[in-house]
Symmetry: C2
Subunit: 327 residues, 2 copies
Amino acid sequence: MKVFMKSLFALLLILNAAMAADPLPSWNDTAPKKNIIAFVDRVVKESSPDFVPVAERIATFDNDGTLWAEQPMYFQGLFAIDRVKVLAPQQPEWKTKEPFASILTGNYAAAFAGGERSIMELVMATHAGMSTEEFEQIVRDWVAAARHPKTERAYTEMVYKPMLELLGYLRASGFKTFIVSGGGVEFMRPWIEEVYGIPPEQVIGSSIKTKFDLTHGKPAIIRLPELNFIDDKAGKPLAINLHIGRRPIAAFGNSDGDLQMLQWATTGKGARLALIVHHTDGVREWAYDRNSLVGRLDKALDEAKARNWTIVDMKNDWKTIFPFERN
Amino acid sequence: MKVFMKSLFALLLILNAAMAADPLPSWNDTAPKKNIIAFVDRVVKESSPDFVPVAERIATFDNDGTLWAEQPMYFQGLFAIDRVKVLAPQQPEWKTKEPFASILTGNYAAAFAGGERSIMELVMATHAGMSTEEFEQIVRDWVAAARHPKTERAYTEMVYKPMLELLGYLRASGFKTFIVSGGGVEFMRPWIEEVYGIPPEQVIGSSIKTKFDLTHGKPAIIRLPELNFIDDKAGKPLAINLHIGRRPIAAFGNSDGDLQMLQWATTGKGARLALIVHHTDGVREWAYDRNSLVGRLDKALDEAKARNWTIVDMKNDWKTIFPFERN
């Protein structure tokens, strides 16, 4: 208990110090940074008419394209492709069966030509059929070894430094931060706490069904090749309602998949912050929006403009994008 | 921010004081109390070989029969019956349609004779067809007005004082406390934070499906008459895995519906606490176990004995049961 007390006191000192300095040093002093700080001031100052008690300071973050990169395709897709290659020797029939055959010859466009059905087959073949503990280890091993095709960095390095600062700033201001992502919840949890400081119980994502299994002597949870929930678009506010049970007062996304979450967060009472990360930097990152297959930002961009949501222009609003950049 | 700091410091002082006194004054000094304190000491002392970091101190609690009473039937069932009576004038066909007809004449045994199908019809007729905000208000109003048929107390007074102390003791020892109940998640959340000090995002329960609705100008989440998930028996470890993503190190239940949660919590590494509340006090509460329709405790009682789990004999181990008792 003493140690717990000591660490809490130490935390308070760190928080006090953090508050004094610029909480968002990787952000240029443009509108988004000003909007964020003005919003936080409004909800944390007890004298403010928009004061929000700590318990209700809920902030939800999309992951792909909002906290880490998502090009040339969602990183979980690259994980699935790598898994197909690892598993192929035990699955000789994949040589002539789509989408596996095209993946094994490196023709990813052909592999995904079958649309949602191909993606589901790929997901089930690579994400199901093992215990949750085994899957966690598979993800951990992949995250440790895999490198991004363009930057040759670990995927967990391809996170946005300004967003890491934002997560820390919100938490230092009494917010509870949640991930609400279309990515698989068990694909995210093994690395998210270390990278974003968000504990597993605050990670919401898509999921497949599972079963409780006692047949091997000790209990295990087995991952089944059947979809449970897709945490995207209208699924996001539903998942927020089911898992959190409170409406967020701040929500962060980058694509049309986040639109309903932003709508849900912004139509409650009092001060609200909705922020969209717009990928505008083709040199330091990628530039894409309305016509991109990955992270399409079209309707949500129109609504953001119409409703005066905060739009981050990555090229102009972020001093640094990735933590590994040299400034 | 200053106020936040001040309240944190105040919290620390309260915690320090709380630690000095008996943390479980409503418990007799019998084995269960000793087991609980010994377990907490093992996991919180940094010098202990079984020390557990704060982030991993997850404790899960069943609700019906573990934190509040469940006789003469689950309180949510009594809520549904009350709703049928309120809604009946708008549903004239219920006069001749089961299970509603029997409920309206007060013949609950006949109403439930149809088993699961009757229960589902009753749940869907009373829990679906409105927005989540409307349902929350319905539950709040019911909880404020309804009284238990035997004690004439509010249902939220019929909570177990020793368990409230246990929740507080665990939290003061760095545990995060979760509800994992077969009850409806949106039936529980409106009152659970005030009664147990557990925030909505730490309440896991059964659920019906919902849809995101924009047709009335502002976004709403509408409750649909379709089952989503039953958080009972093998569903409990699956829900824990999906929502928390960590295995609890302590789990608390009272019936066969909690068996798999206790199995899941106890088969991890290190110190584990599994506790079963055994309803043995027919005078102050109710006495029931193997043959009860509500809260049947049969297989889990055998396994608890075989595996040396902590069994609370309510009559002998609890000094006080309900907060309103005069000692």
